[in-house]
């Protein structure tokens, strides 16, 4: 299981990536899954053990409105579950 953080635009996502990398957290960039939001864009992938500090760091800077999702593989496909930010 891992976590996905979404943003309202690409610039916020890039700012968030830079913020987390500066804190030496492991962060990946992914295309925004259609199950979360139809369209395009990017989101961040965070390991479960780092999601709480990651959210904490991002809440201390302006990255707009975030969405938090957990992601697991079921029947060889990703499934997404919306989570509370706090």
């Amino acid at each position: 299981m891992e976590y996905i953080i979404t943003f309202t635009n690409t610039s916020f996502a890039i700012k968030a990536e830079k913020t987390l990398l500066a804190q030496e957290l492991q962060v990946g960039v992914l295309p925004l899954p259609s199950q979360i939001s139809a369209g395009c864009g990017i989101c961040l992938r965070i390991k479960p053990e780092e999601i709480r500090p990651a959210v904490g760091f991002l809440e201390s800077v302006n990255v707009g409105e975030m969405g938090l999702y957990s992601r697991e593989i079921r029947d060889e496909r990703y499934t997404y579950q919306k989570e509370e930010i706090r």
Binding site: T8, N9, T10, S11, I14, C40, G41, I42, G64
Partner: protein, 362 residues
Amino acid sequence: MIYFDNASTTLKKPSEVAEAVAYAINNFGNMGRSFCTPSLLAAREIYNTRTEIARLVGLDEPLNIAFTSSATESMNLVVGGLIKSGDLVATTEWEHNSTLRPLYLSGCQLYFIDPHNPQFKADTKFLVCTHGSNLTGDIVDAARLYQTCKEQGITMILDVAQTLGSIPVTMDMADIFCFTGHKGLFGPQGTGGIIINREFDFDIVKTGGAGVHTFQAFQSKEMPDIFEVGTPNSHGIFGLQKGVAFVNQTGVEKIHNHEAALASLFYDGIKHFDKVQFYGNMEARPRLPIISLNIKGLDSAELAERLWEGYGIATRSGGHCAPLLHQLLGTEDVGVVRFSFSYFNTKAEVQQAISAMKEISK
């Protein structure tokens, strides 16, 4: 060639600027359109350019900077996005057409103030003005104007096309700044932007694909997306980043001191020539590194032609897109020849220009 047309565009750039543009052309994908490495490379470097500019002006939030193609486009977007028909708007007679024409088009009620002694009418909503005249090099005390605007509830929009990179531009000078990348910031042409000091509810005046919210009918109103529609000029913006980094590393004060010394050297070398007439307050400090002049009896175009054909000195003649200031100066019929200096010009070049002016003005 001796290039003294830097107020039009700086010709010599730090070498890193062209290197960055070449790198970007060969390596950048389209920001925000996918997550592959080339696309993310573009997105990250565009963000890094915002942080470099934020550092230059003392801005805390890099995403309060949006990129455009020019200061002209910036002014069109800001005026079009904020000023409504009938709004009472103050400006000055120093303005470039890139400010005047969007204001005329807006249908606002426009009136003119003396930037050194502003008298605002009641119910004025906006002041839109230049920080420094592209024609005379004279500077406006923007920080003082902004203080007055804040006291009177007026939103101040500042055109820093001529000043950013050449003299200090800080966030205590306006609510909104419109800048270009290719002059004092040493970036490529086709770059510019908008800096905001606080939140504004801009109307959407430019819309299309932005890489997100594909199925929504309307463009996002968030900064910087509201102004960044379509594929960004990531190649140019990466070049701009290197130009701004050069300015940050060198220091605006050092750049200004060098440019001002060249302008003073030129002015002192020709001010005693009988036929030479100058425009602007030559004694004011600071002022932009611009010396605008005419030789009595000579059309500005003819003087510029003689300088170029006879001496290889590039200047700009004519109206400089500043129609109202020319009317104030009484030069609308002959124009003015503008010498504008850059950090990369030398004293030896200025001495050659003094010699040329001595011969021509005999």
